[in-house]
Structure formats: structure tokens, C-alpha cells
């Protein structure tokens, strides 16, 4: 049995893919489309190929499921040389999702999703159950959508069906070629969120091709920035690439807002929070004033009995206040420990105090976040990656551990 598809008792969680010195040379062209590319795609990770149009990223991806045959070099999946597996059987073990979904317009949603299970010979009952399970998984109600035709779906729904079809036979590997390129930005954001949620449950090895660096930063565990002829400019985590681009081309591709992008990657719980004086709403005004004066803090927080922050209060406001019950300014945007630093920045920009209260899971006070906290956090990331050597061609293929 040479199939990649899992046997009954196994789950189709990710396997490692290795490209070893892969070349694609088209007849009649001077330069190869893909020039000696080597890289390791770790099991269960989402690796994004990002690069300008025509750089060979799609060609590189399509060589993994042999829709394009490499001219030379070797590609192994889970240690097996793809060339030793019949191409059609190989592809049945690799989920494939493309721009505009590529759904079969003459088949219902259910039949589209059932394509691969049908090809590998699942029985009818198992296939039917699997179709419903898949539609549920991608957020489409099976009873509503099962018997619809693709043209009766919105672009976003079509993409969801495309992903369901790709995952139906539980393949360990998923190839996605700009799958969200043709939908509006809001839907794209939602689909990206869904993909990340799915991936955290399924742990497939995903190779994702896009020319949108923001998309790459959002969904990738690792990003391979590809230049012409699919040369690997940098292959690393989004954090490392943003903090220390390997060369000018990568830096240009990231754009001028690397730090802002960096903020989307880290969560509030990952950084060290600042603290400020706090008092319960039935506490003493004098005590809070003393604490503020002692710490020379411009703002304090008033909490309710369950530790949830209620209002900001300044020393000036306290000077004339009789009790803490109704003094101070409203809290504004809430930042939780699971918010991204970008959300936190947004929230603190909206505050007169230029800081935002951070709350834990039950809404309890956990600390505050200020511009200084954010700047410090970014500096730390940069320092952490400052020693990364800008990758050269020879070592580009090895992911940093």
C-alpha cells in the first residue's frame, strides 16, 4: 500500500515534506522556473510560500503533488519519494484547494465534497456521514447546503466547500494555492480565522501560497519568502522575519509597517504588563491618593468587589472626591490577556490615560498596558532575533529550530 491516506485507525495528522534540490526547467526557456530549491516543511505546520507574481511559488507547490513534474531533484512526503507513488493516488492523499475553489459546477455541494472518498472507494454510508461532518467543520449547515449547486453559493461559501472537499478523505497534507484570493477582505479575514481554528484541531501539514504578506504573517507558522526562480530569500517564523529581514528584498516585501505587523503576532499574555495603584469602589480616597503620590502614577484604577476594573481616576479628580463610588473616567475599550498587541494599541490610543486596563478570563484586573510596555515588547523580539544570521542560499532550506 503506497497511499498517503491514513488507514482506518490513524488520523490524518501532518507529515514532513522535504524538497531536495528541486529544479523545474521548461523547454525553450533560458532560466529554470524553479532553481535548485531545498527546504523542509515540518510535520503539522503551516508553511506559507510568499513572493511576487511569477516567482515560481505556485510551481514549487504544484511539484509537491506532481501536477508539475520536477525536472530534477527529489521530493519526499513522510519520507517516501513522491516519484515512487502513482501520481493520481498520491494526489488523493494530498488535499488541494485553489483560488475560486475550482468546484465542479454540475455536482452538488455534497458530491463535490465526496469526490476523494468516492475515488478511494469509501462506502456510501461512511461518505455521507463524512460529507456532513466536513460541512459542519467548515461552518456550513449540512441540511441547508448539501443539495445546493456551487453557483447558488457566495464566493466565501464556495471556498469553504473547497476546503471541505480538500479535507474530506483526511489527508495528512493540504496544498492551498491562494485559496482566499478571490473573496472580499472581510470574508477573507473570516476564512483565515476559520482555517487557523481548523488547523489547531487537525494539525495537518499545510503548504499555503499567497502574494499577500499580511495573510502569510497571520496564518503561517513559518514563512518562506521566495524571490525569482523560487530562490528562498528567508525561511523562518513570522516574528523572526519581521524583526530581522534577511535582505532588502524581504524588507521591501514586508513593507514599512513591520512593527505594526509584529503587534498582530503577539498576545497580551505573552508580555510583561505594567501595574498601577488600584482601590475597591468602597475603599478609601485618601489611601488611593497616597499610593498615587508614592508611585508618582498619573492614573489609578477603581475595581468592583470581584476585581473587575470600573474607572480610571487621576490625583486631581481624587483631590475633590468624597468617595470612590462615582469619581473618575469610564474605562473604554476592554483588553483581555488573549487580545493581540495590535488590539491593545488600538485600545490605549483611545484612552485619555494612554494606557489600557488588561483583564483576565473572568474580567478580573490583570495589569495595564502602555505605549512603553509595547515598545519594550517589540524591542525584546528584535533583540531575540538580532543574532539570526541573514540566511544565505545554502542554509536557506533548514528551518531554524
Amino acid at each position: 500500500m503506497t497511499d498517503l491516506l491514513p488507514a482506518e485507525e490513524h488520523t490524518g495528522s501532518g507529515v514532513e515534506i522535504v524538497l531536495d534540490d528541486v529544479v523545474k526547467q521548461y523547454a525553450g526557456q533560458a532560466d529554470p522556473a524553479v532553481d535548485h530549491v531545498s527546504m523542509t516543511i515540518p510535520a503539522g505546520e503551516t508553511v506559507v510560500f510568499v513572493g511576487p507574481s511569477g516567482c515560481g511559488k505556485t510551481t514549487t507547490m504544484r511539484m509537491i503533488n506532481r501536477l508539475i513534474e520536477p525536472t530534477s531533484g527529489k521530493i519526499t512526503i513522510a519520507g517516501r519519494d513522491t516519484h515512487s507513488i502513482d501520481a493520481d493516488r498520491l494526489r488523493r492523499g494530498i488535499g488541494y484547494s485553489i483560488q475560486q475553489a475550482g468546484l465542479f459546477p454540475h455536482l452538488t455541494v455534497a458530491k463535490n465534497v465526496a469526490t476523494v472518498p468516492g475515488l478511494v472507494g469509501w462506502d456510501k454510508k461512511r461518505t455521507t456521514e463524512r460529507v456532513d461532518e466536513m460541512l459542519d467543520l467548515v461552518g456550513l449547515d449540512p441540511d441547508t447546503y448539501r443539495d445546493r449547486y456551487p453557483r447558488q453559493l457566495s464566493g466565501g461559501q464556495q471556498q469553504r466547500v473547497g476546503v471541505a472537499r480538500a479535507l474530506a478523505a483526511d489527508p495528512p497534507v493540504l496544498l492551498m494555492d491562494e485559496p482566499f484570493g478571490a473573496v472580499d477582505p472581510i470574508t477573507r479575514g473570516l476564512l483565515q480565522d476559520e482555517l487557523m481554528r481548523l488547523q489547531s484541531d487537525l494539525g495537518k501539514t499545510i503548504v499555503f501560497v499567497t502574494h499577500d504578506f499580511n495573510e502569510a504573517v497571520k496564518i503561517g507558522d513559518r514563512i518562506a519568502v521566495l524571490g525569482n526562480q523560487s530562490h528562498i530569500m528567508q525561511y523562518d517564523t513570522p516574528e523572526a522575519i519581521l524583526a530581522n529581514p534577511a535582505n532588502d528584498m524581504v524588507a521591501g516585501f514586508i513593507g514599512a509597517d513591520a512593527s505594526l505587523k509584529q503587534l498582530t503576532l503577539a498576545r497580551v499574555r505573552d508580555i510583561e504588563l505594567a501595574q498601577c495603584p488600584t482601590a475597591y469602589r468602597n475603599g478609601s480616597v485618601a489611601e488611593l491618593r497616597r499610593e498615587l503620590a508614592e508611585q508618582d502614577a498619573p492614573w489609578g484604577l477603581i475595581l468592583d468587589q470581584r476585581d473587575r476594573p470600573l474607572r480610571w481616576v487621576s490625583p486631581e479628580q481624587l483631590a475633590t472626591a468624597g468617595s470612590l463610588e462615582d469619581v473618575g473616567d469610564p474605562l473604554g475599550e476592554n483588553v483581555s490577556l488573549t487580545s493581540t498587541l495590535q488590539d491593545a494599541l488600538e485600545a490605549l490610543l483611545m484612552q485619555a490615560s494612554a494606557s489600557a486596563a488588561v483583564t483576565g478570563r473572568r474580567g478580573e484586573y490583570a495589569g495595564i498596558i502602555t505605549i512603553d510596555t509595547l515598545v519594550h515588547a517589540l524591542q525584546e523580539v528584535r533583540e531575540e532575533h538580532a543574532d539570526d544570521h541573514p540566511v544565505d542560499e545554502a542554509s536557506a532550506g533548514e528551518p531554524t529550530p
Binding site: I98, G102, F104, L119, L175
Partner: protein
């Protein structure tokens, strides 16, 4: 000629008219089926190559420019009289619309769809049978309708080669102009061909309704 003469003719010759109509439709349907199979196979063989498509369409067009009278005449020395030259001529004439529409239909399939089909592990034959042909079917069927209409008319000429069908009525009618039943005979044959052609077309439209996926219909 008045209506009474026509009516008398029809009621007197009812049996023969029915037989001729049946033979006419039967010959056309069989020829279209044969032409359809050949044309779709040719279309499949050439649609990926622009040169192949041009050659196939060109050859089939050339056949169509031959006057049917001449083609039948040329076939008689080879195939004799009767059914053989008739069906051969009809099949040759029926090819072009179906070949052309097969090529157009197959070439119009979105490459993203065939790419997806290959990508999920269908081999060439499956992609063709399960994806491309069903998607091209409305176009192929449109070609079949054109061929059918055309052959209904052309078959009338085949009476010259002693072929079956309503052409015999028209021929013998026209060759006896002057006799009282001549015009009713020719007219009946002509009108019957028109009516049967419309009925057959209606049936093909119905066939289309039943064989085209709801996902492709508007």
C-alpha cells in the same frame, strides 16, 4: 388544388405516409446517433490542439459545402442504392455541427476546474468522463439539435438514391406535375418533414432538460 384534394390524398395514403414518416425519422435518428458518437470522439481527440481543432472543423465544413445531390450521386457507384449511401451521406453532413460544438464545449471548461479535478486525484479518463463531458454536454446537445434539423431536410434528397423516407413522396410528386395528385403529394411530404423536424427538436429539448445538471441551468 383545393383542400379537399389534399385531404383525400392524406386519408387514402395514410398507411404509406405513416410508414414513410417512421422511416424518415428512424433514418435521421440513427444517422445522428452515429454522427454524434463519431463527432464527439473526434472532438475529444482534437480539442486540446488548436491545429487539430482547425483541421477537424475545416474538413467537416468542406463536407457540408458539397451539394447533397452530388454527394449522393458520388456514393451510389461505391455503395449502391438504398440505405447505405443515404446513411453515409447523412452521417457525413451531421458531423460538423456536433464536432464544432464538442470542441467549443470542451475548450470552454474552466481550466481551474480541470486543475482541481487532477489535483484531487482523477486520472485523464475520469476528468474527461466525470467533469469535462458533463460540462460540455449542453453545447454538444445544441450541436446535435442543429444536425438533426439539417438531416431531416437532407434526407428528402436521398430519395434520389432510393433512400427511405418522405423524400419519395416529394420526388414522385414533383416528377408527375400536371396529374391531380402531384402537388398534394409533394406538399404533404414537405409539410410532414417540417412537422416531424419540430417534434424531434422538441424531444431533444426535453432530453436536454433531463440530462443537463441543475447546476448548469439558469
Amino acid at each position: 388544388m383545393d383542400f379537399q384534394t389534399l385531404w383525400d390524398f392524406v386519408s387514402e395514403r395514410r398507411q404509406q405516409l405513416l410508414t414513410d414518416s417512421y422511416l424518415h425519422v428512424s433514418a435521421v435518428v440513427q444517422s445522428v446517433v452515429i454522427a454524434g458518437v463519431i463527432a464527439v470522439l473526434i472532438g475529444i481527440a482534437v480539442y486540446r490542439s488548436p491545429i487539430g481543432s482547425a483541421v477537424a472543423t475545416g474538413l467537416a465544413s468542406t463536407v457540408l459545402t458539397l451539394p447533397s445531390f452530388a454527394l449522393l450521386g458520388l456514393l451510389i457507384p461505391i455503395l449502391g442504392l438504398g440505405v447505405a449511401p443515404t446513411v453515409t451521406a447523412l452521417v457525413l453532413y451531421g458531423l460538423l455541427p456536433i464536432i464544432r460544438n464538442t470542441i467549443i464545449g470542451l475548450a470552454a471548461v474552466d481550466p481551474a476546474i480541470t486543475d482541481a479535478a487532477r489535483g484531487v486525484g482523477m486520472n485523464r479518463l475520469r476528468v474527461l468522463g466525470r467533469i469535462e463531458l458533463p460540462l460540455a454536454w449542453p453545447s454538444i446537445l445544441a450541436g446535435i439539435r442543429v444536425s438533426t434539423q439539417m438531416l431531416m431536410g437532407i434526407l428528402a434528397i436521398a430519395a434520389y438514391a432510393k433512400g427511405p423516407g418522405l423524400g419519395n413522396l416529394i420526388f414522385s410528386g414533383l416528377s408527375r406535375v400536371g396529374s391531380p395528385t402531384a402537388v398534394p403529394q409533394a406538399l404533404t411530404g414537405t409539410v410532414l418533414i417540417v412537422i416531424l423536424a419540430l417534434v424531434l427538436d422538441g424531444l431533444l429539448v426535453l432530453l436536454g432538460r433531463f440530462t443537463t445538471s441543475r447546476g448548469l441551468r439558469d
